[in-house]
């Protein structure tokens, strides 16, 4: 488990904790995949990703929205990512396996990444992310 689920009545609110900003983004992507597909395994498919946004919160929002889109359209369940993350820009590669209904249909459909309650903060030597997925 890469994340903890927080109380939210209608949707899925999660907290991710990581030692670096790049790890925070990587773990957030993994958490999104776990919510959607329940079971994820390392895969051999690789794909580059590059995103530029207005600020760090938007960067996280846009990154997770892009992961959601790629996963659905390319039918890839993403298992890990290697990212270089700046204030407004990130680039890197993610890896995953092909979506298989038998393995991956047990999760929840995420409709979108909400800006409401989206926060990134630095606390006790770690980055913390809180984000709500609309399900």
């Amino acid at each position: 488990m890469t994340y903890v689920e927080l109380e939210h009545t209608a949707d899925v609110k999660i907290r991710v904790i990581a030692p670096t900003l790049a790890n925070l983004f990587e773990e957030a992507a993994r958490a999104l995949m776990e919510v959607m597909y329940h079971t994820i395994h390392p895969g051999s498919i690789t794909c580059p990703i590059s995103i530029t946004s207005d600020d760090q919160i938007s960067l996280m929002h846009d990154f997770l929205s892009e992961i959601l889109y790629i996963s659905e359209v390319e039918e890839i369940v993403i298992s890990s990512a290697d990212l270089i993350v700046g204030e407004k820009h990130l680039k890197g590669v993610f890896r995953g396996e092909k979506f298989d209904p038998k393995k991956h249909r047990g999760g929840m459909e995420v409709k979108g990444i909400s800006y409401s309650g989206l926060l990134i903060r630095w606390e006790d030597d770690h980055f913390i992310l809180e984000v709500i997925f609309d399900v």
Binding site: E7, T9, A10, R105, K111, Y115, S116, L118, V135
Partner: protein
């Protein structure tokens, strides 16, 4: 009730200006005391946040199924002046035109043989669950036709009868839909998903009409006690989700461009008169049309199953109505004694137009719009009709469902899908889903009691009860 909220009627509560800084109008919501105990502070805060948006008219409103969402609260309704007002994806949601339709089957409960086989057949015919794909193979041109003409397009392609489209809001498609602001990404997601149910709280349910409260209205709506019906609940799938995501980003920039100050980024908005606002509205309308076509195709698949299994002629399975839950529309309403064109946002709320309103099929003009309120898997659904009072009080709006009361994380820890399935089976309700987690996540106890939500809208008079329908079997994503 939370501090700072005033009671202004038996079921009516006011959030005064000043509850959060910058409110332009008061907030109003409708709740019984029982439902009041379940009201989250976050939902009231969101209701008050909406009241800060430019051009909001009269009140920021919420229905008795109010709960904590993102941007607007779920159950939120707000109207904006066409000149000075704004449009916001946060007032519509990711699942644009998530909605419900009700189909009548000329079968009595006692004649519904092979119920398990029926549920299994529907589960195999209607694609459901995460990653499910349609058996329809749309090309780019067909998708454009669907985005422009919604249910009407589906009917023209052979997925229904003429009458079906006329029994949807707006005749089954919003005429202001525009193709160009629907991104390539959104189209890519929409192409393989038309005619799929999706996951989460979406469902297809076999129901029986258990009780009639208003004989005259029931007769007009074409339902009688003991009759079998099918309720279909789904939305605009990945296409609508992507349209929301894309335009949220555009409108974030527009919020800064037009110097609009907001308490929540998810309320990102643009003036209705601006290019950004118009682009979102056109794309949202196209997504709404996608959802209508989606429900139309699923209803067609359902009719075919009943035709094959029970020999019922297709045209004898008539649709009562189709309602949209998440949408923004241009409508005319009386505000302080004058007729005004406004943009009404309904986020988890149902239109409930009263008798003789515009946009009602002639057969329902005397009684008002059918209002379909789904329950959860084990709890009843209700059919109501719209009222003149709703036109006065809520811009012709009412509740949309039961509303969650237990978080998904708590449901996961405390409820086992297998137990829910067994309990429901004892009550004669068959549940078919891809996973036990999906069943646990949507168990009856995670929702507010649907009868209490419906009682409040009936007592307030913003819609009136016609019938109660009980579940016999359900397929879920």
């Amino acid at each position: 009730m939370h501090e700072g909220i005033k009671r202004v009627g038996a079921f009516e509560w006011e959030v005064p200006i000043g509850f959060v800084p910058g409110m332009r109008v008061p907030g109003r919501f409708f709740l019984s005391e029982i439902l009041g105990e379940m009201l989250e502070k976050g939902a009231v805060q969101q209701l008050a946040n909406v009241a800060t948006m430019p051009g909001i008219v009269k009140n920021s409103l919420a229905m008795p199924d109010i709960h904590w969402g993102y941007g607007f609260p779920i159950g939120g309704v707000a109207a904006f002046d066409m000149e000075s007002g704004v449009i916001s994806p946060g007032g519509v949601g990711f699942d644009i035109n998530c909605g419900v339709r009700l189909l009548t089957i000329p079968l009595r409960e006692g004649d519904l043989a092979k119920k398990r086989e029926l549920i299994e057949r529907l589960f195999s015919v209607v694609p459901t669950g995460v990653g499910s794909k349609s058996r329809m193979r749309l090309n780019a041109r067909e998708l454009e036709g669907l985005l422009l003409k919604g249910s009407k397009w589906a009917v023209d392609q052979g997925y229904g009868m003429e009458e079906d489209a006329s029994r949807c809001e707006d005749g089954g498609f919003m005429k202001d839909a525009e193709i160009s602001p629907v991104s390539a990404k959104a189209r890519q997601r929409g192409m393989p998903q038309s005619g799929t149910l999706g996951a989460g709280n979406h469902f297809l349910e076999i129901q029986v009409v258990r009780e009639i409260y208003d004989q005259e209205a029931a007769k007009i709506f074409g339902i009688s006690p003991g009759q079998i019906c099918v309720m279909i609940h789904c939305g605009s799938r990945g296409l609508g989700h992507q349209v929301c995501t894309d335009h949220l980003k555009e409108l974030e920039a527009a919020t800064r461009k037009y110097n609009i100050s907001l308490p929540d980024r998810q309320l990102a908005c643009a003036p209705l008169t601006s290019p950004e606002g118009k682009a979102y509205f056109g794309a949202m309308a196209a997504s709404a049309n996608y959802a209508w076509a989606n429900r139309q195709v699923i209803m067609h698949l359902t009719r075919k199953v009943f035709e094959e299994m029970y020999g019922i002629p297709y045209e004898e399975m008539r649709m009562v109505y189709d309602v949209a839950h998440n949408v923004a529309k241009f409508e005319e309403h009386m505000v302080d004694g004058r007729r005004m064109r406004v943009c009404v946002h309904r986020k988890g709320a149902t239109r409930a137009f009263g008798p003789d309103s515009t946009d009602l099929p002639s057969c329902y003009a005397s009684i008002g719009q059918p209002v379909i309120i789904p329950g959860s898997m084990g709890t009843p659904s209700y059919l109501l009709h719209g009222t003149a009072l709703a036109m006065d009080k809520t811009f012709g709006s009412t509740c949309h469902g039961a509303g969650r009361v237990m978080s998904r994380s708590k449901a996961k820890k405390t409820i086992r899908g297998q137990d829910v399935k067994k309990t429901l089976a004892k009550e004669g309700i068959i549940v078919q889903a891809h996973s036990m987690e999906a069943i646990a996540d949507e168990a009856p106890q995670v929702y507010k009691p649907s009868h209490e939500v419906v009682r409040v809208v009936h007592e307030v008079g913003i819609s009136r009860l016609v019938a109660r329908l009980e579940p016999l079997g359900v397929i879920k994503g």
